[in-house]
């Protein structure tokens, strides 16, 4: 499926970020971000709203330019080799990037034709079946449920088998059932050797999916490690004794001396 693309194998991290900074006027969103993502792993970037997760992903996906620092994806510099980076990645943004007027199948064919792949129809049919969308393939994407739309969105990102995939809050706004479906799809991706960087505000999601978790807070990565390493950062479990203040009721009965 990689016909027409020449992506050299890259030793070292699939994503490598050093000292990345980005400000919107006075607001310093990223203040020196460092991270490395191993090929074929799932890396979760955890952070609250406005922590700069989307800004970081957009810089890595060549949609934004950084103010300082370097970032390499699949061995290519995002600033000077943007074309090569785009050949290596797919972005599934925060809002499902599907064309609602086209059918699910047409959406997939569109991406395959834009990537100039052979047999766009066959690629579309295989992905529809992989994401359990075959029956809905001929329907307009506008009629899809939130979970189906997300699955189509992720399927569109897989057209052409890019080695690195960015998923920006892939389960935001989904119901629990749809969330589990998306998790399953992401796990299968990594099993196929794709490097996945996902952002999320759900701790459970990072716990479920990620090989490595980084917490982005106030523009910096403050913690970066495996789930076990992160848990070790917590103080050990301990037993506390809390003095229980008497309620007015206790006082009342003590004073009047009435037995209950």
């Amino acid at each position: 499926m990689l016909a027409g693309m020449s992506i050299p194998p890259t030793p070292g991290p699939a994503i490598h970020v050093r000292g990345l900074e980005k400000a919107y006027k006075e607001l310093r969103v990223l203040r020196g971000v460092d991270l490395a993502v191993a090929p074929g792993s799932i890396f979760a970037l955890l952070g609250s709203n406005g922590a700069g997760k989307t800004t970081l992903v957009n810089i890595l996906a060549t949609l934004l330019k950084s103010d300082a620092g370097t970032a390499r994806v699949n061995g290519f510099d995002v600033a000077t080799q943007a074309g090569d980076v785009r050949e290596s990645i797919s972005l599934t943004g925060q809002f499902a990037a599907v064309d609602e007027i086209l059918s699910g199948r047409e959406n997939l064919v569109l991406v395959a034709r834009l990537r100039r792949l052979k047999d766009p129809g066959g690629i579309a049919d295989r992905l529809l079946s992989r994401f359990s969308l075959t029956d809905a393939g001929a329907r307009r994407a506008a009629t899809y449920s939130g979970g189906m739309r997300r699955r189509l969105d992720i399927a569109m990102s897989l057209v052409g088998d890019p080695p690195v995939i960015f998923l920006d809050e892939p389960t935001a706004g989904l119901d629990p059932q749809a969330r589990v479906e998306v998790w399953q799809a992401v796990k299968e991706l990594a099993e196929g050797g794709t490097t996945v960087l996902l952002t999320t505000q759900y701790l459970e999601e990072a716990e479920q999916l990620a090989d490595r978790i980084a917490i982005l807070h106030e523009g910096r990565i403050i913690v970066d490690g495996t789930l076990a390493e992160l848990k070790a950062l917590l103080p050990p479990a301990k037993v506390e004794y809390v003095e229980k203040q008497p309620s007015l009721e206790d006082v009342f009965f003590a004073v009047v001396g009435a037995g209950r």
């Binding site: 693309m5 996906a61 990645i89 797919s90 809002f95 990037a97």
Partner: protein, 253 residues
């Protein structure tokens, strides 16, 4: 990425054309306002307007065609605006495709959609008694002028399509363009207008375009109007194209 430009643009134009063919109501809405105006002017006001030997429907059709284009490009801005708002735009921008392809897809689609609306309006005009003895060359010249005018206005429409904050903002720019033919030679001869209005009417682009198209339809010599019309269209096109591309580059970098 230039080598992929044609392939990418073709695929993306196919996509935006589907948006048009799957919402044919937008083309019909585009044609309804000019058709209603045509009915109003021909059957209500027209009898009181002296246009000499030319029948009134023949006289005012060129102006109606320009109004059709001016209202049609509002949908071009709307379609581009919708793409910018949705996540699909970010997806295209992060893919290894020619970035200008997306803009050209909208521009080419605008030309086709407006051509369809124009054919519908001319069809209604024929039913209402519009007749022209113009030859093939004259019709081709009319088509060429209208195509150039559509292209120029489409590049204007790209700017609000890229920068608007709301749907209303994306299409509001077209109102003055729709209004422009009223202060021109499109519906009444400019001789009856008071001095300053007449000066404006005779020196704005619509008048020269309307006169050139009207003379082609009525087999009159087009004179300098044709060259003034072409100069206006090309001038607007060049300026709008430059600003639209500047805006696009700012929006995507």
């Amino acid at each position: 990425m230039a080598s992929h430009f044609w392939s990418n643009t073709t695929v993306l134009t196919g996509r935006t054309m589907r948006h048009v063919t799957r919402s044919l109501d937008t083309i019909i809405t585009t044609a309804i306002t000019p058709i209603a105006m045509m009915l109003l002017f021909v059957y209500v006001f027209g009898g009181a307007i002296d246009t000499g030997t030319v029948t009134y429907v023949n006289y005012m059709l060129p102006g109606i065609l320009l109004i059709t284009i001016a209202s049609g490009i509002a949908y071009t801005a709307f379609r581009l605006f919708s793409d910018m708002q949705g996540g699909i735009f970010a997806r295209f921008q992060s893919m290894p495709i020619a970035r200008s392809g997306l803009l050209w897809a909208h521009v080419l689609t605008s030309l086709v959609a407006n051509a369809i609306s124009l054919v519908v309006v001319v069809g209604v005009a024929l039913v209402m008694g519009f007749r022209s003895g113009a030859g093939v060359l004259a019709w081709l010249a009319v088509a060429g002028i209208l195509l150039l005018f559509t292209l120029a206005l489409t590049w204007i429409a790209v700017i609000p399509g890229l920068t608007a904050k709301s749907v209303d903002g994306a299409s509001a720019f077209s109102y003055p363009l729709i209004f422009l033919p009223f202060i021109s030679s499109a519906f009444v001869p400019t001789e009856t207008m008071p001095g300053p209005v007449r000066a404006f009417a005779e020196n704005q682009p619509v008048t020269s375009i309307v006169n050139a198209v009207r003379n082609l339809f009525t087999e009159q010599p087009v004179g300098t109007d044709l060259w003034v019309a072409l100069a206006w269209c090309v001038g607007i096109l060049v300026v709008a194209y430059a600003f639209a591309n500047l805006t696009y580059r700012r929006r995507t970098s």
